[in-house]
């Protein structure tokens, strides 16, 4: 009985364990694998990331000089960033927002 009262009292005065998410932004650790970012100026379009990608989410064309990723096919494993010879790919801690449609992001060198 006493322990129950203690739990109730503690729960009344404690801050909630959850983050009230949309009102308060969740700050991710810099280590968190959110989404793949590319510094397209440094990319040499070698295509290693596309070949190594476990879900084939990345498409590259050397002739047309573009790098494209299907955001919702990406499983955030970080494989592409690891194998990139120019280290122009990186994992940012920002997550891809929800969407009802497929989201293809195309980066090309103008």
């Amino acid at each position: 009985m006493f322990s129950m009262v203690k739990t109730v009292l503690l729960s009344m005065f404690k801050r909630p364990s959850t983050v009230s998410y949309p009102q308060k932004a969740k700050i991710n650790d810099p280590l968190v694998r959110g989404q793949v970012t590319i510094a397209i100026e440094a990319c040499i379009f070698c295509g290693i990331c596309g070949r190594k990608c476990p879900t084939n989410a990345i498409e590259i064309s050397k002739a047309e000089a573009f790098w494209q990723i299907e955001r919702f096919n990406c499983i955030q494993c970080g494989c592409c960033a690891e194998v990139c010879p120019k280290k122009c790919l990186a994992m940012s801690s920002e997550l891809t927002g929800a969407s009802a449609e497929q989201r293809k992001d195309k980066y090309s060198r103008a």
Partner: protein
């Protein structure tokens, strides 16, 4: 003789997080036979090994299951490393052990929450999952993922845990240990929980042995079995007890899992103290694997077996996983016989079913 009926149970059921179907043959309220059918979440991950480079397949192996994801990756890597005679650096072995034991804590806390939920104890469920959240934050902080870590690779690990983070892990675990003690008294002394779990679904030691039960299911029936004693990874360097119970009922299975959390905390503390300070965390992979190997390791649910056959190319010939839930299903069917219909959800839950592991 009572009236006989067949009640379909699952694949969609409020207490089941994953799809399994049981046809329960009842006599009045008593189950006389249970016929299982699985195959609702088969994804063909074993076949995929023929299409993916053996190093990339680590990412796929991790996705066999969301709860013991790290240990799936670790099992696969251990098998390939042994084929290629790769020696994993000591620091990597300790890091693997830390992550594996953290996974065990999070899996057992998740299970305790689900158990509380299945017997209708909602606030206890919330408390268990609140504590589990702290472990998930530790994963976030050390690996970059909450569920799928992608830190294991053939030859070692991808990420290191520095001194500061190791200290933080130990601090969080100290907090959790204190909270867990009060939670333990609820689980093991509260009359309503005792009444719901004691004497339900008794699996005798002979049955557990004969039906090949593994993990906490076997240990709760008095069988002393733990694959960690084989001495893979950093386990030879740490001291731990094998938790067993004699009763073999749902209450004993709960007790074993709770005490295993304390053991896991103690293992992580020892690892944090013993971890070597060298910087090498991965051995480079040279050449291609040729040969076959059986890797065995202890997951939160029991022993998992990884069989890998390599043919000297970058694609493997065969990869087979024998998951703990698959080994525990015959024992579950045995305990279901003679149980009350109202106990079936709790009974199915106490084997800690992971159907997506079982079906891959």
């Amino acid at each position: 003789m009572g009236k006989r009926t067949i009640v379909p149970f699952g694949p969609q059921h409020p207490v089941l997080p994953e799809p399994i179907h049981l046809d329960l043959a009842l006599e009045d309220e008593t189950v006389i036979e249970a016929i299982p059918s699985i195959g609702f979440v088969h994804r063909g991950l074993e076949k995929l090994v023929e299409k993916k480079d053996f190093q990339e397949y680590t990412y796929v192996a991790e996705r066999i299951c969301g709860i013991c994801s790290f240990m799936h990756g670790m099992g696969y890597c251990m098998a390939v490393e042994n084929i290629m005679s790769l020696t994993v650096p000591d620091r990597a072995e300790f890091l693997r052990t830390i992550w594996a034991e953290l996974s065990r804590i999070h899996s057992h806390l998740l299970w305790l929450g689900l158990l509380a939920d299945s017997i209708g104890f909602e606030s206890l469920f919330m408390h268990c999952w609140r504590m589990r959240e702290q472990i998930l934050d530790l994963f976030d902080m050390t690996t970059g993922g909450r569920v799928i870590f992608s830190v294991c690779k053939i030859g070692g690990v991808r990420k290191d845990i520095d001194e500061e983070k190791l200290k933080r892990i130990v601090d969080v675990l100290n907090n959790i240990e204190d909270e867990l003690r009060s939670l333990t008294s609820v689980f093991l002394e509260e009359q309503s929980i005792k009444g719901r779990l004691s004497g339900v679904g008794v699996l005798s030691q002979a049955d557990a042995f004969g039906l090949g039960a593994v993990g906490p299911m076997a240990r709760a029936s008095g069988i002393v079995t733990d694959t960690r004693t084989l001495g893979y990874s950093a386990y030879p360097h740490v001291k731990f007890n094998i938790i067993t119970a004699q009763e073999g009922d749902c209450f004993a299975r709960t007790k074993v899992r709770i005490e295993e959390i304390f053991e896991a905390i103690s293992i992580i503390r020892q690892c944090a103290a013993l971890i070597p300070s060298d910087t090498l965390i991965a051995e480079p992979v040279k050449g291609l694997p040729k040969g076959e190997y059986f890797a065995r390791l202890e997951q939160p649910r029991g022993e998992v077996i990884y069989y890998v056959k390599a043919n000297g190319t970058k694609f493997l010939d065969r990869m087979r996983v024998r998951t703990p839930t698959f080994a525990n299903l015959p024992a579950l069917l045995q305990t279901l016989k003679g149980s009350e219909l109202a106990d079936v959800p709790v009974l199915v839950l106490t084997i800690d079913p992971c159907i997506s592991c079982t079906e891959r």
